[in-house]
């Protein structure tokens, strides 16, 4: 393992000097009680977001979307369509913000980059043998480098859950560090795939490990494993980000992904951020929603707020 002490306080730099010190650090974290974490998330999801709050929340949520297509059947045409949608979510209303990024497989990054030219919408590419992460480090690094060369502004990598669950924290740490280097200037989002980590203690440890190794964002899920993003998992990760900032003064971003389909869902995540990390994190620079169908629901709700009547998907472009 290589220490990345330069950006960390000495306390945290010590934690990354060896496999055993990292393990000791991760096991020394305050535990998470699952029932209590669930209860807190459930309570926050009762927040009533109406009128002006809803309007602000909807636009904020739109601006935070990583509009995603990650299918084996993805084509250049499909990606271009998605990019058009991301640039102008509703062609009839120019006041609607653009999404934050278009999230695609690395081989589609180039297409996306071209389609988004001239806009502020970023290209995010999944890499490192997404979604399973089952490949050699060499392959993962190459995967990343290619995506970056293809124009990806952001890399969404997956951690090696097998290594993590078998206690090889150093291996997971090293991989993240190597990918971070391979990213160059691209931002690194580290996907924990919390649905496979199962316990909140694991989620907390994996979050810490990723942040220590250089993640710019931590992300819940690939979207290929159930459960994907949940409110309590996101809460635990947000609390970890809060703790990390307290020690390092370094703000890490958060991205729940998978299963966020409705405006109601999205607003609950914003509430979570607001009441865990404060308004400072309510920006696309520090919070993203990995989603696909969410955008249209947000658009419909936006129209409902403006027009006063309920809307139909027939009036919103499907992608």
């Amino acid at each position: 393992m290589k220490s990345i002490g330069s950006t960390l306080t000495s306390q945290l730099a010590d934690a990354t000097t060896s496999e055993s010190s990292l393990k000791n650090f991760l096991f020394g974290l305050s535990p998470v009680d699952q029932v209590g974490a669930n209860a807190r998330a459930a309570m926050l999801s009762t927040r009533s977001i109406k009128t002006t709050a809803k309007a602000a929340g909807i636009d904020l949520a739109i601006s935070m979307i990583d509009l995603t297509t990650l299918e084996g059947m993805d084509t250049a045409s499909k990606v271009r369509t998605l990019c058009a949608k991301g640039r102008h979510p509703d062609i009839s209303d120019r006041t609607i913000p653009t999404v934050a990024a278009i999230c695609v497989y690395g081989d589609m990054a180039k297409i996306a980059k071209e389609a988004l030219a001239g806009s502020n919408v970023k290209v995010a590419a999944v890499a490192t043998a997404f979604p399973s992460g089952r490949a050699s480090l060499k392959v993962k690094i190459l995967d990343t480098q290619e995506a970056v060369q293809n124009g990806a502004d952001e890399i969404d990598m997956v951690i090696d859950r097998g290594a993590f669950l078998s206690g090889q924290y150093g291996k997971v740490f090293d991989e993240i560090q190597q990918i971070k280097i391979a990213c160059g200037d691209a931002h690194l989002k580290v996907i924990l795939e919390t649905g496979e980590l199962k316990t909140y203690d694991n989620v907390k440890r994996a979050s810490w490990l990723s942040m220590l190794a250089g993640a710019d964002f931590i992300k819940t899920s690939t979207g290929k494993v159930q459960p994907a993003a949940t409110l309590p998992v996101t809460l635990v990760m947000l609390q970890t980000i809060r703790d990390f900032e307290k020690i390092t003064n370094h703000k890490i971003g958060m991205k729940p992904a998978g299963g966020i389909r409705t405006t109601k869902d999205a607003l609950k995540y914003l509430v979570l951020v607001k009441e865990t990390l404060s308004d400072e994190w309510l920006t696309p620079d520090l919070f993203r929603l990995g989603a696909s169908s969410l955008l249209n629901d947000l658009l419909m709700q936006r129209k409902k707020l403006q027009s006063g009547h309920y809307h139909s998907l027939d009036y919103v472009s499907m992608d």
Partner: protein
């Protein structure tokens, strides 16, 4: 022909496993049915009552912490010793005017055995695992209330005496027993039984004396948690004692019930919640 003079027993108090005289130096005379002198019995004072409560309080933690199995064996041991000394109790009960004293003593022994056997069943019968909504494990268990003051009737009854004591100590309480004149000799003898069983010092403390004098001090005592008033026959005194016991909200037994009810008077139900999750 035995012409050796009897060595008479001095009837003393029983506090913290020892047999002190009353600090007041007072005694009262106990005669038999024919008004023949039997003993000068120590007449406890309020200070003796105070000492007895201190002894009971200091014995509480260890006794209540003992395993139920252990408490059951200790109480069963009382029955064993009592069985061996039953002729003495029969004689004392007879001299105090109790008819059919022999079956009475056997009944008392059976009572003790009954209570002894309950020690490790109380939790099962009185406690519960509660199916609360939500991811919690929730259980309720009985715990002893603390120090119990027991007022014994002036009508001598070994059955009542041992039942009143056993009902309190079986769950881990410690007791201070106030025994009036007519019941005093069997109580003194029972103290000797207790002292030679394995009952730890202070678990049972016996004060012979005047209930009307002693009980009010126990009723108002803030370190006494419960009170058995079933032995008080004077209705006004009983009402006063209950009202005084309200000062620190003592658990009160007005009449001594059969079966489990008495035991339940001296236990507190403790309910513990804990989340269940990974």
């Amino acid at each position: 022909m035995n012409d050796s003079l009897d060595v008479k027993r001095t009837a003393k108090l029983y506090i913290n496993g020892a047999f002190p005289r009353s600090e007041s130096g007072r005694t009262f005379v106990v005669n038999d049915q024919n008004n023949k002198f039997l003993a000068n019995v120590s007449k406890a004072s309020r200070k003796d009552a105070r000492d007895a409560v201190v002894a009971a309080r200091s014995a509480f933690n260890k006794w209540s912490d003992a395993s139920a199995y252990n408490r059951g064996q200790v109480i069963y041991r009382i029955a064993e010793i009592l069985q061996g000394r039953s002729p003495q109790f029969i004689a004392e009960l007879e001299s105090a005017g109790v008819k059919k004293a022999a079956p009475h003593v056997l009944e008392a022994i059976d009572k003790i055995v009954w209570y002894a056997g309950f020690s490790d069943k109380i939790s099962m019968v009185v406690g519960s695992a509660n199916p609360v909504a939500g991811k919690f494990f929730n259980f309720s268990i009985p715990e002893p209330t603390g120090v119990v003051a027991v007022c014994v009737s002036n009508e001598p009854s070994l059955v009542n005496l041992v039942s009143q004591i056993s009902a309190a100590i079986v769950s881990g309480n410690t007791v201070v027993v106030v025994v009036p004149e007519n019941s005093s000799l069997i109580a003194v003898s029972l103290a000797e039984v207790l002292a030679t069983s394995d009952v730890p010092a202070g678990v049972v403390n016996i004060l012979t004396g005047d209930s009307a004098e002693l009980a009010p001090w126990l009723a108002s005592h803030l370190d006494v948690n419960a009170m058995d008033l079933s032995g008080i026959s004077d209705k006004n005194l009983k009402t006063e004692l209950e009202a005084s016991a309200a000062t620190n909200l003592k658990r009160i037994l007005r009449t001594f019930p059969d079966g489990l009810s008495a035991i339940k008077t001296y236990v507190e139900i403790k309910t513990v919640w804990h989340p269940q999750g990974f």
